[in-house]
Assembly symmetry: C2
Homo-oligomer: 250 residues x 2
DNA sequence: CGTCCTATTGAAATTCTTCAACACTCGTGG
DNA sequence: CCACGAGTGTTGAAGAATTTCAATAGGACG
């Protein structure tokens, strides 16, 4: 959905910060629209960090001090009710930009689902870069639009789909994001689910028990094969895609 | 959430298109960031139109030819499953910008909930204006971020809230958008619900029967008063706000 | 080997939906 | 002027889906 933007100048690597040379965000992420000199500015303020699974990256309501690019791994965005019910409202993958620009506070809790590698920088750096580069804001806007589209797609899932359709939709969603280059309408696919059952339940608006039962049914129906609780093989993506809007038959 | 932007120049009305002088979008909408000369350009391509309730404004998957500002009324954005289940994924109010920029196709069906007045213009006009005015893109980005926040808030409602909490959340949401200037944490409020029961059900991921039953219970509990099925009075907004995350007691 | 964490499975309980009947309003036409 | 039908909303009872509660299993780790 995000259009493929070429770097503005096809510069020799030596003009570019060493840190950025092998970086995925450099090409497909927001850094792709920055000039070499802007990259140099940015890289002076960046910090790379590794976050282990389940570790909290930011809290709901907290002041946003830093933004980041996701270099590797999967990040959960979630909201809580006062009595502790949780809903995951978005998943982010490399090379997504993380954090809400122009907003003082975090609208949701941010947590690592898998091991995550980040390249973070302070709010002020982003603000400086956006004022001098309309292309950067355009890029951020594009990602916001993509996330809005995904959120609304998921609203349909949460509001109108049965448990089995939700689980199928989830696997379809993960397949698309883990293997974006592969067709998700037919053929086979294999991947690691980056979430544990309780996260899946919180993403789908279900309980872990219901999720587990649906996995069992899909396994029995031959739609998926599971090993180690996390490794999924989908022999026929078309069959899975059909199940995202149809109830599974016994 | 959208910051209050002053018009860039405090010009005399005569420099501004007559059409725009009394327009709400002129101040609070995207036109608020345009210069008088840009407004003149825009106004040469705008068409005002009135759409009656239930009338379709755009179809899901259709090519987007025109964008619009909502001058009056409420617009529903909805998605459908293959077998016809419907989910409303967003409501828009004056002076919102309508349509997804930079996208070829509509991601959802657009329909008038109430009578709606629009000021529409072709895709090319918007594209021209955004390239010459980074402030316009910033404004659009702000609205996209606001909608993303609302979509994710609603994901919590759809995924984790009971029927009674959903209906309370709905009334709270409408109150905030119909009377934005009034406190929504305490005091009383009165307004017309801009949706009929089937729309409310499609927004809440429930059936019309369940919605109706919850209205009855809230009426019996004294949280709301209803006249003519559409006029709602909320004596105590704090009580309603509490019910958005707590089940109603018998 | 025991404990913690994660996941699965079964049975009972609950919530929401489905199906069906009825009420109200409004406009039209006999 | 009243009857009729369409559209909208309410209510009840039965049914279905998901949740809750409870028990069990397997893997990782000290």
């Amino acid at each position: 959905m995000i259009e493929q933007l070429k770097p503005r100048l096809d510069v020799h690597n030596s003009e570019m910060p060493v840190l950025c040379q092998a970086c995925e965000a450099r090409h497909r992420g927001i850094c792709g629209v920055l000039t070499p000199s802007q990259l140099v500015t940015l890289s002076k303020h960046t910090t790379k960090q590794v976050v282990s699974p389940e570790q909290q990256i930011a809290f709901e309501g907290e002041t946003t001090k830093r933004f980041a690019n996701i270099l590797h791994g999967v990040v959960k965005l979630s909201k809580l009710t006062a009595d502790g019910r949780q809903q995951i409202v978005g998943l982010q993958f490399a090379p997504d930009f993380m954090g809400r620009p122009f907003s003082k506070e975090n609208d949701y809790a941010v947590e690592a689902a898998t091991e995550v590698r980040l390249c973070s920088f302070p709010r002020s750096t982003l603000e400086q870069l956006t004022t001098e580069s309309p292309e950067l804001e355009h890029r951020l806007h594009q990602q916001t639009l993509k996330e809005l589209g995904e959120a609304r797609e998921w609203m349909l899932t949460l509001g109108r789909k049965s448990a089995s359709e939700r689980v199928a939709s989830f696997l379809h969603f993960i397949a698309m994001h883990i293997n974006p280059e592969v067709s998700h309408t037919h053929g086979s696919q294999q991947f690691e689910i980056p979430l544990k059952r309780s996260d899946i339940a919180d993403f789908l608006g279900l309980t872990i028990e219901t999720v587990s039962r649906q996995f069992t049914r899909m396994r029995q129906a031959g739609v998926i094969k599971i090993s180690n609780n996390r490794t999924i093989e989908i022999p026929d993506m078309a069959k899975l895609a059909a199940l995202t809007e149809t109830n599974i038959q016994d």
